[in-house]
């Protein structure tokens, strides 16, 4: 993880852009935070390490001027999806790609150290992290505390970039591992799955962190969850309404979700919301042989209409 | 659809969120998108004992749709009914426009503060209104006409986009014929059959150029009109505490609790909607 190389590239790019979006150290040793670099002095605050979990592309559709941005492999898929949907002007973005072997999940680390107070955290290269707490020292391999998405990552090197801040990495994870957890879950009896989701979604407080963190949710300000014309979802806090919101949200992302995992990361109630979107993606893959955010020239299957679909069996006419 | 009222249980502790039932007794088509509704409380005792100050508002409920805030634009000196003028804009106002005479709605009133008419006594009054902005001004105008001796000269500058968009045409006719008010009407552009002034309200204000001496200016209308009117009044050297206006914000509770309509420390529903320019200048720019 070449921080010096990254800072050097940013200092070259900065004069051409209105702002450069990267990562800085957050409020404690375990958190990074997005940084909007405007002056050369700000560049010194940039960091690049396994704490950098955020998908910064969520800021792109709302930028009016030219911006620079750093992206990991998963984040770069969002940019390609934006290009497919016409949500950004590629000319107005300077992309610095960051090949990545995995980030860490804050929830998993906290659980692994039993919520002890963290005094310091050091990342050793890209493979391990040492956390010193009030009670002692803990050492983890990144793989142990990475979010699930990293364990099946197919795109460790960004798929689109203007500069690459480090040597490219090839994925060593088998492609059929991506939806393995979905298939395993589907084997469970319906009643069990129903109870599981009722329990998980019961905690939902409709804060819309998942919706706002999702880069592809660009109609946040006029969301179906809140509009009254038409009045699809009420403000009652019953499990029905929560289901309705999450189902609609997942459906609106069908064939668009790039599985960056932000929705699940930001949920303050720890609900596995990205699973629903992954399930729909698995179906989309089966029906249309389409993987979101991988080919700029493609169009999302829910955007276009074919009179005859190869994998959809219609009734015989 | 005629609805007969039903007696409702009264709780000992008054619940400020619970509307009282009122029935529509008359609907007046003021303009293509504005209607005035005259209502009376279903409870005749309540109607008899109800009182309010000019400038105060009420929240009208269409049950199942929602609530919206409207100034009570009939004066407290004429209490046969309460009148509200509703411009069709969103969900609730559209639902109100679908109602008929005899329909029931909910009312929470009176809410908010009122025009400081005490400090206006003995002074000259200048009303400047645009479009539906005449609604809150109407309350005060009629109140002053019913207490005519307490106030000096009254001048009204009122304009709308076109003649059909002028509100309260009946009142305007009456005021024109009175000798103790000066009424200056204007529309934005030429219009067939219109032989009076033409020009935007702020422009007309500059042309008329009233003197600020012992005069209170009260203005209400679209935000853009208010902006230029305030500039015009400043140029004419009106003092900040002698310029009164009403603010509008999205409101829900109407009692200064839900936190929505605040500008700085002031709640438009409770500390307003009537503010003097002097008060507005103390608030954060919003």
């Amino acid at each position: 993880m070449n921080l010096e190389g990254l800072r050097e590239i940013v200092s070259q790019v900065l004069p051409d852009v209105h702002v450069f979006i990267g990562y800085a150290q957050g409020f404690d040793p375990l958190h990074a935070t997005p940084l909007f670099v405007r002056t050369p002095e700000d560049i010194n605050k940039l960091i690049w390490n396994p704490l950098c979990v955020h998908n910064l592309t969520t800021y792109l559709p709302f930028q009016k001027k030219k911006v620079g941005i750093v992206v990991k492999g998963c984040d770069s898929r969002t940019i390609i999806q934006f290009m497919q949907e016409g949500l950004i002007d590629r000319e107005k973005i300077v992309i610095v790609g960051l090949p990545c072997r995995g980030v860490i999940s804050v929830t998993k680390v906290l659980k692994a150290i039993n919520y002890e107070q963290i005094n310091s955290l050091t990342c050793e290269g890209e493979t391990s992290v040492t956390v010193i707490t009030s009670h002692g020292e803990h050492r983890f391999s990144i793989e142990d505390v990475a979010p699930d998405k990293c364990k099946t990552c197919q795109y460790p090197t960004p798929l689109v970039y203007d500069y690459l801040a480090d040597d490219p990495i090839t994925s060593d994870k088998p492609p059929d591992a991506v939806y393995k957890d979905i298939h395993e879950f589907e084997q469970k009896p319906l009643e069990e799955r129903w109870e599981y989701w009722k329990k998980e979604l019961d905690r939902c407080i409709r804060c819309y962190a998942c919706r706002n963190a999702c880069p592809l949710c660009v109609c946040q300000d006029s969301c179906i969850a809140e509009t009254r014309d038409p009045h699809w979802i009420t403000q009652k806090l019953t499990i029905q309404e929560k289901f309705m919101f999450h189902m609609i949200h997942s459906l609106h992302l069908a064939g668009r979700c790039v599985e960056c995992g932000e929705c699940e990361r930001v949920c303050p109630m720890g609900i596995p919301v990205s699973t629903m979107k992954k399930k729909i993606n698995a179906e989309i893959k089966k029906l249309f042989n389409y993987v979101p955010g991988t080919q700029p020239g493609e169009k999302p299957p829910m955007y276009i209409f074919n009179v005859e679909e190869k994998n959809i069996e219609e009734h015989k006419l | 659809m005629y609805q007969t009222p039903v007696r409702r249980k009264r709780k000992v502790i008054k619940n400020p969120y619970l509307p009282e039932l009122v029935t529509i007794t008359k609907i007046i088509d003021e303009t293509p998108n504005i209607k005035s509704y005259q209502v009376i409380f279903n409870d005749p005792e309540r109607m008899k004992n109800f009182s309010f100050q000019p400038g105060q508002v009420g929240q009208l409920s269409v049950f199942g749709v929602g609530e919206s805030t409207f100034v009570i634009n009939s004066p407290p000196t004429r209490m046969e009914y309460l009148q509200f003028s509703v411009m069709k804009a969103g969900e609730v106002t559209s639902a109100i426009h679908e109602l008929y005479v005899g329909d029931q709605i909910g009312l929470r009133a009176p809410l908010g503060n009122w025009f400081p008419y005490e400090m206006m006594k003995g002074k000259k009054i200048l009303f400047i209104g645009g479009g539906i902005g005449l609604a809150p001004l109407r309350t005060l105008i009629l109140f002053m006409l019913d207490n005519r001796d307490d106030y000096g000269d009254i001048t009204i500058i009122y304009g709308a986009r076109t003649p059909p968009d002028l509100c309260y045409k009946k009142d305007l006719k009456e005021w024109e014929s009175r000798s103790d008010i000066e009424l200056i009407l204007t529309v934005d552009n030429e219009y067939p059959g219109w032989d009076k002034r033409i020009g935007f309200v702020p422009t007309v204000l500059n042309e008329v150029a009233p003197s600020p001496d012992n005069t209170v200016a009260i203005t209400c209308g679209p935000p853009i009109m208010i902006k230029f009117v305030l500039e015009g009044l400043a140029k004419l050297k009106f003092q900040d505490d002698h310029i009164i206006t009403t603010l509008e914000r999205r409101m829900k509770c109407g009692i200064g609790i839900c936190g929505r309509c605040n500008i700085g420390t002031k709640y438009v529903c409770k500390d307003g909607p009537v503010f003097s320019l002097a008060q507005l200048k103390e608030l954060p720019p919003e």
């Binding site: 300000d221 009652k236 | 619970l18 049950f63 829900k252 919003e286």
Partner: protein, 361 residues
């Protein structure tokens, strides 16, 4: 019983179970990795060593509450006639919030000034508030992001508490502060706690020094209005915010709400739900005009409300309890302490007072 009680650790669940049979008790429980307040049940996993993700405010101020129901009924003898019936909901029942934190309890006192001490009090909140007993637990240690001492609080603060609970090695000391609190100490399994009074007081003193204050409370009253009203300040300070409602919904002192009618043809209800000033629609008017269309203006209003407007109206009380939930759970780690610290400086170039904590000191 004396005004100080003591529950041995191995009796805690028995105590909670007994009380719960008479009055619902809400306790912090683990569900997966999340801690939240749930009604006590035998299979709850109690979690007292870290603050709950969500504050207990939903017990006194439910996230969704029915204000009244309405019904349209046709007169069977004259189909043209329809009556409207309004009905208020049932009276709320008593409740006990067990092991809230001092910051959570302080949150309720912030509500009280707005909802109760006014000429038109909110009857729904008032009734629940009067019927709920709050047992505040002294924080054993701060969590990342905690800053209660910077806003007039502390890990042993008594504001809003009916009972003060201190954890010692072998049990919990309960000090009753109000009549409601005294009633709680009369339950079975609460022993006499006089012998533990000193130890509890010592513990309360000890924890007060553990919380790092990134700015001084007095500094809040010296916030520069010039900087506060500067658009440029907010446009660079709050770029990363994504305008969700997580900070608002997890905040013990946030009290904004929305009122909507939910309707099913012949009947419906008027609901009161939490709302967040961070949402675009919060101030959106029917005409389409929005006085706060950008996230910068909305965040400025949020900070302004907590640190300027509320203190101005209510004798300098800051409408923030320093619990740190907004910092811990913000998707992009917006740090309100940093923003308030920046506002207090007279120049825009400020040394970062939370630098220490970032490095983990």
């Amino acid at each position: 019983m004396a005004e100080i009680g003591f529950i041995p650790k191995d009796r805690l669940r028995d105590f909670l179970e007994t009380v719960n049979k008479t009055i619902p008790v809400y306790v912090p429980c683990c569900e997966g990795d999340v801690v939240l307040f749930r009604r006590y049940a035998v299979d709850n996993v109690l979690c007292l060593d870290r603050p709950a993700h969500t504050p207990p405010k939903t017990i006194i101020f439910p996230q969704s509450e029915c204000l009244f129901t309405f019904r349209f009924e046709k007169d069977p003898h004259d189909p043209k006639k329809t009556t409207i019936q309004l009905a208020e909901p049932e009276e709320p029942s008593e409740a006990i919030i067990f092991a809230a934190r001092p910051c959570d309890a302080k949150g309720f006192t912030i509500y009280d000034r707005v909802y109760i001490d006014t000429d038109m009090p909110d009857p729904y909140y008032k009734k629940r508030r009067e019927k709920t007993t709050i047992v505040t637990m002294v924080c054993p240690s701060p969590s990342p992001g905690c800053f209660c001492t910077a806003v007039g609080g502390s890990p042993a603060n008594r504001e809003g508490a009916d009972v003060m609970m201190t954890e010692l090695e072998n049990g919990y000391v309960l000090e009753s502060l109000t009549e409601k609190g005294k009633a709680l100490l009369l339950y079975q399994y609460v022993e006499d706690g006089q012998a533990f009074r000193e130890a509890a007081e010592a513990k309360q003193l000890e924890v007060k020094n553990l919380v790092h204050a990134p700015f001084q409370k007095e500094g809040v009253y010296n916030i520069s209005k010039t900087i506060f009203n500067s658009d440029e300040f907010w446009e660079t300070e709050i770029d990363k915010c994504i305008s969700c409602g997580a900070c608002t919904y997890l905040c013990p002192t946030c009290y904004c709400f929305n009122i909507t009618d939910e309707h099913a043809i012949t009947r419906g209800e008027r609901l009161r739900n939490w709302d967040a000033c961070m949402f675009f629609h919060f101030t959106l008017e029917a005409s389409g005009h929005n006085p706060r269309p950008t996230k910068y203006q909305r965040f400025k209003n949020r900070v302004g409300h907590k640190f300027l407007y509320y203190p101005e109206k209510y004798d300098g009380v800051i409408a923030c309890c320093g619990c740190g939930r907004c910092i811990r759970h913000c998707p992009v780690s917006v740090d309100i302490r940093e923003i308030v610290a920046h506002l207090q400086s007279s120049t825009s170039d400020v040394s970062n007072t939370s630098e220490k904590e970032k490095k983990g000191d």
